[in-house]
Symmetry: C2
């Protein structure tokens, strides 16, 4: 029996029966096709030897489509970046969909195409997955979980607890692009036509940084909670303080304007294509120079340094020369930003 | 600053800020604590060498608590079983939560405790994870994704496409327990106090089966869509037919009664602690004997065999001696059963 493809996702697409198989065979396999995935057994199997990095994130961003990306691109880049931040070369992803009954099949296909495009750019394969469908109102359109595995090839020792006094803090580019793009899209604001998510896979950038020096102490992508949260985590785990200078932090004009208008501090706004590196001072310039040659590091800058006093504290030296403590946020600034 | 623990999940618990950290440090880490997880870096890192199995599933079962288990136990057993069905020894899991704002903290703690208990029984560690919180109405209480990795140690060649004519079909125990337990709980029926999900980790059972013979052709857990769907998949992928005998299929009395009352066919009802093995006839008895010694295989039985004619077809010989084709289900029988 041949079934016509429905134009909306039905509960039966998650049943494990015929419509599930049709969805897998007509939408997912053609997009992701590779020899490991195509076996469609309960697990994907591959050979591996060495240090393996393993990570996962669920993505619940709203709206699903936003300037500069969508939930599919985000689900690949977020997990690829988590692997890259451990110094790993991302290899394989799983994708698991929780879909609300009624999602347009055309929207699912766009998201799946976007996953595949981002996976190709990052050089990873989707090798296993799952689809669940919940009743209308049981979820909001679509949630995607990706888990990822990667190989730590270089002899690195990258960890949030490795920042040392004297180290330099490098930021790979402008702050706040993802958060403000999603926020203005969600609210139906068109503050600026050029506000666009920075959502991008950073694994190639990290590979080039490690080619310049394997002596990188910390690597983190400042996603939820923004740069402020990430630096607070690094300061706490490394038992150091971090001092950054407002004038050195790259922020786009549109993001700055949107933040001022809506009352957000760009230090706390989510990024999806940026990283913070904490590196020994003697390696900072060579790493920075390498970063600036990569499209995702073109605006990289040294924004501050690690100090010994007041462990756990992050301090901002403002443009006016004052110093203020940058706290970890207590509440939720931008729910469902990733 | 010390924050009191809220008695409900708030959006801020998913913000990446202070409440997120508190949730991770006070609820998740104490439950799952192990040296790999406790580093809390963007990826978990471990050494591995050999054939690696990788799988994922998202769990959306409703209700979250049901007789014999809850979504946490299910999320561990389901993924452990997917690894085991590839002949892998499960090693590590990731857990990723999508939580609806307002979930009781006490319910989350029960689920987390249940995850840890099931992980201990299965001998796996939770080494990485994620928490997202969505606004009230954006999801239904809690969804959990687990991804898992395992090691294929024995020289096995287990695949859905490996069934050969003449092979025996072994079922590890009674059918339909999970589906009917969740179904009756959901509908508020109390048909029988002894209807209980069979949700269980099957990796030890599989290890014992492989100790009896590594020559197992197919292994599958008949979850969504039940035994009928699993056998149809095996018949299609192996290009064989499968003939099973109704009289040999173990079904509990309560499940049989509930199915008759509610109009379900137990062949299509979900199981979460059962497996189907397709094995060469000469190994069937020794594998079966080994299975019957394990608590999760006590009711194991040979229920049929693989044939050459009519590839892709599954046929049931009924108690009355008639034969009927067992199709893959078209629609959704029991939404959100796992």
């Amino acid at each position: 029996m041949v079934l016509a493809m429905n134009n909306k996702i039905l509960l039966s697409h998650g049943s494990g029966g015929r419509l599930s198989h049709q969805l897998i065979e007509e939408v997912l396999i053609p997009a992701f096709s590779n020899p490991i995935l195509n076996k469609l057994d309960d697990s994907a199997i591959f050979d591996f030897s060495g240090h393996l990095a393993f990570t996962t994130d669920s993505y619940v961003v709203s709206p699903v489509f936003f300037p500069g990306g969508d939930i599919g691109k985000l689900a690949v880049c977020g997990t690829v970046n988590d692997l890259a931040m451990s110094g790993a070369i991302p290899l394989y992803l799983s994708t698991s969909f929780v879909i609300e009954e009624g999602l347009l099949m055309s929207d699912l296909k766009k998201i799946v195409a976007s996953i595949q495009k981002a996976a190709e750019e990052a050089g990873v394969l989707v090798i296993t997955g799952d689809v669940k469908v919940v009743n209308r109102g049981g979820a909001d359109k679509i949630f995607i979980n990706t888990a990822g595995v990667g190989r730590i090839a270089a002899p690195v020792n990258i960890s949030s607890s490795n920042a040392k006094p004297g180290d330099k803090v490098i930021l790979s580019g402008t702050l706040g692009d993802h958060g403000m793009a999603v926020m203005t899209q969600r609210e139906g604001l068109s503050l600026s036509s050029s506000l666009k998510s920075d959502c991008a896979p950073l694994n190639q950038l990290v590979a080039e940084m490690l080619a310049a020096s394997t002596n990188i102490h910390c690597l983190r992508d400042p996603t939820r909670g923004g740069l402020a949260t990430t630096l607070n985590e690094l300061a706490q785990k490394s038992k150091v303080s971090i001092r950054i200078e407002e004038d050195r932090i790259p922020i786009g004009n549109e993001v700055r304007a949107a933040c001022e208008l809506l009352g957000f501090d760009p230090l706390y706004v989510a990024n999806e294509g940026k990283l913070v590196a904490i590196v020994p001072p003697e390696d900072a310039d060579s790493i920075l120079a390498k970063m600036q040659q990569n499209r995702y590091g073109a605006n990289a800058a040294i924004i501050g340094e690690v100090q010994k006093e007041h462990p756990g504290r992050v301090v901002l030296k403002t443009s006016l020369g004052a110093s203020r403590i940058v706290d970890m946020p207590l509440g939720e600034l931008l729910p469902r930003i990733c």
